[in-house]
Amino acid sequence: MNIGTGNPDQKNTSLPILGQPTSRRTALKVAGAALGLAAFGKAISPLMAIPENVSVDEFLQQHYKELSDDDKTAIFARLEKETREDYGADVKISDSRPIPGVKFGYAISLSKCNGNGKCMEACNQENNHHRGVDQSYIRVLEMSKGSLDMDQGNTTYDHTVPQDDKYYMPVQCQQCDNPPCVTVCPVEATWKEDDGIVVVDYNWCIGCRYCEAACPYHARRFNWEQPEIPAEEMNPDQGYLSNRVRPQGTMEKCHFCLHRTREGRLPACLEACPTGARVFGDLNDPDSDINWVLKNKRVFILKEDLGTRPNFFYFFD
């Protein structure tokens, strides 16, 4: 078997696997390859659990913006069924669209917020967050009076509030008008809707977490595992782009409770706030509470220098 001759036909006859099985080496190679393949199959066998969780329909599902009304009906029915099977809860998934002419804005009075964290809890319950880690879209920073430097802040305080030398600053998605998270997403799984809310299609996101790196406000959360929610705690009023149960391995974020706010209701975190520090409304309505705040209070936005143009405002009384 001289390989140096260079005739392709001749070489073809000496092909290791397809060629003559007479060669001991070739036989060994075939055996080795077969063994290797078998070992590989065994190694990736944990993937066999996936078909149970990911149906063909889900795998082939199109981007939200491509879905027809019929598609949506079918998909929502499938998701409702899955929630029933996996969580034992009956839920209703809706698809509220932006109200024409409305642009949402949110403001927080740092003079009133006392850091009690009821908003975080309400978010957890309203949005069917993972109970295992008490997930929430909001973080409340305890800040030192006299400084806006977050480096002086702390989210893990657990003493009575408010402390005399502190003020409290809740941070959640700022629904930026120039959102870096949307720019960086490689598959357009996250986008800004007409009322200013930045949403994620949980069934389109590939889980690269680039948006999480890009967001300057720590507003995004990744589903590191399948969320755990007891059936009796499940909020059955669910939106496809908001608080439905999120699949493992995808990104999520605050959506201003769009399943509520697009129906005219106030967000859950605002209703939960005992101090009334939170103001929500339509920026396009000159008579709205939010516009009154913008006109009459000393308002600032976080990290203005980054040019993200938030629709989330902070003010002192």
Partner: protein, 419 residues
């Protein structure tokens, strides 16, 4: 001998039809070897299988099995990815002198750099896939059937340039080997333009990868214009260092003659780049510390520790020490005479820039978080396993590719009858 090979061909125009056969044959040939080769491949296979298993568990159970958090949302995978892009780009350092400056001696080893680039890119792509939360949805990225957010997302640029670089190098290497196999003189028209493009392309893959990070305004640690140049020079340390090690190994193999010229040139390249790299680190560190302010927090954390957290401090000082020692060795004239010294210097430079680009660059970008919370990160066992698996696979690819090239190019070896 190669010319006789050509004459034996009866229908030379059927290149394309025969190309797959050629690949098949070369694959078969390159999997022949002595017991050392089989042992090496066996060990790599085992490591790769452990990695595959760890990855499968990660996909099934969720990324919870990694130590990444919402605070440090990229870790060892993306660190390795960034580094391997550098190695791939660094491979081209062989090509520039060979083609731009018509250095004939480089032509013989240029293929080593390109094969290294191919295996490095394969590893890059695997590292990205390992980092995805939903790898089965990769098709969402394919233009046409998915939604490809180009040109806005830098990640889509990266996907394009990485795959483009892979194809370019596959073409150049494949063409050169095939022509050699056919015993024909390669037609410059079919590869020189591609080589030229691949030179610029190599710069682009690393620049685009740097843009992934430095385009993020919310991460002051990355948001510096120096990032892309820094990436490039450290790539031109790591790439040539790896090639030098490879050449030293190849030289020891029987029947291999490798000219000292290329090694000499590579050492000279590293002499420049390793110093430039150190200079850039110094100027970054100076800018951060001298002016101070909130944006210094990550640098502070990395080099000195912040608010009592200092998990990365040993890493970065190890990297700096490695880089400085390597630089000192490279600058000494003895480097040309002593191969062991050269290997040590290359290893130090390689590991040094691996830490600096990985744990020293990706992770501190997230610490403190954008809300200035400090959550530390060290990779979990799963992450180490998956990363080791991908490295093993990359080395397997590299070994096979190098053996293919050797079979085709080295007549001495090709003529030895297979036992």
């Amino acid at each position: 001998m190669s010319t006789t090979t050509g004459k034996l061909l009866e229908q030379p125009p059927h290149y394309v039809r025969n190309y797959p056969r050629f690949i098949w044959w070369a694959l078969g040939e390159s999997t022949n070897g002595n017991w050392l080769f089989y042992l090496w491949m066996f060990v790599l296979t085992c490591v790769a299988l452990v990695g595959a298993n760890a990855w499968a568990v990660q996909v099934a159970d969720g990324m919870i099995v990694t130590n990444m958090t919402d605070h440090v949302s990229w870790g060892l995978y993306i660190a390795n990815f960034t580094f391997m892009v550098g190695v791939a780009a660094g491979g081209v350092m062989m090509v520039i002198p060979a083609y731009l400056y018509h250095d004939k001696k480089m032509h013989d080893v240029v293929i080593v750099g390109e094969l290294l680039a191919i295996s490095a890119i394969v590893m890059c792509l695997l590292f990205v896939v390992a980092d995805l939360g939903r790898p089965e949805r990769f098709w969402h990225m394919i233009p046409g059937i998915g939604r490809f957010n180009w040109p806005m997302s830098m990640l889509t640029w990266d996907v394009i340039v990485l795959n483009g670089y892979l194809l370019l190098n596959l073409h150049v290497c494949g063409y050169l080997m095939y022509m050699r196999f056919l015993g024909q003189q390669p037609n410059p028209r079919w590869y020189v333009p591609f080589v030229m493009i691949s030179i610029f392309w190599a710069i682009s893959i690393h620049t685009v990868t740097a843009f992934l990070y430095c385009g993020l305004g919310g991460r002051p640690f990355w948001n510096t214009a120096l990032l892309a140049p820094r990436f490039l020079v450290s790539a031109f340390v790591a790439g040539p260092a790896f090639i030098l090690i490879l050449l030293a190994i190849l030289k020891r193999l029987p029947g291999q003659t490798i000219d000292a010229g290329p090694s000499r040139l590579l050492i000279n390249i590293i002499r420049v780049t390793i110093l430039t790299n150190l200079l850039m680190i110094v100027s970054e560190v100076f800018t951060e510390f001298y002016s101070g302010g909130a944006h210094t927090a990550s640098t502070m954390y990395l080099f000195l520790g912040l608010h009592g957290f200092d998990a990365l401090v040993p890493w970065i000082w190890t990297a700096i020490a490695f880089n400085v020692i390597a630089a000192a060795i490279f600058l000494s004239p003895r480097i040309f005479r002593s191969t062991p010294l050269l290997i040590v210097a290359c290893l130090l430079a390689f590991v040094g820039s691996w830490i600096e680009k990985g744990m020293g660059l990706i992770v501190p970008g997230f610490i403190p978080s954008t809300l200035h919370e400090i959550v530390e990160y060290l990779p979990s066992l799963t992450e180490w396993k998956v990363s080791a698996g991908i490295w093993a696979l990359g080395l397997m690819v590299l070994t096979v590719l190098l053996k293919m090239a050797r079979t085709v190019f080295n007549d001495a070896v090709a003529e030895t009858p297979v036992p």
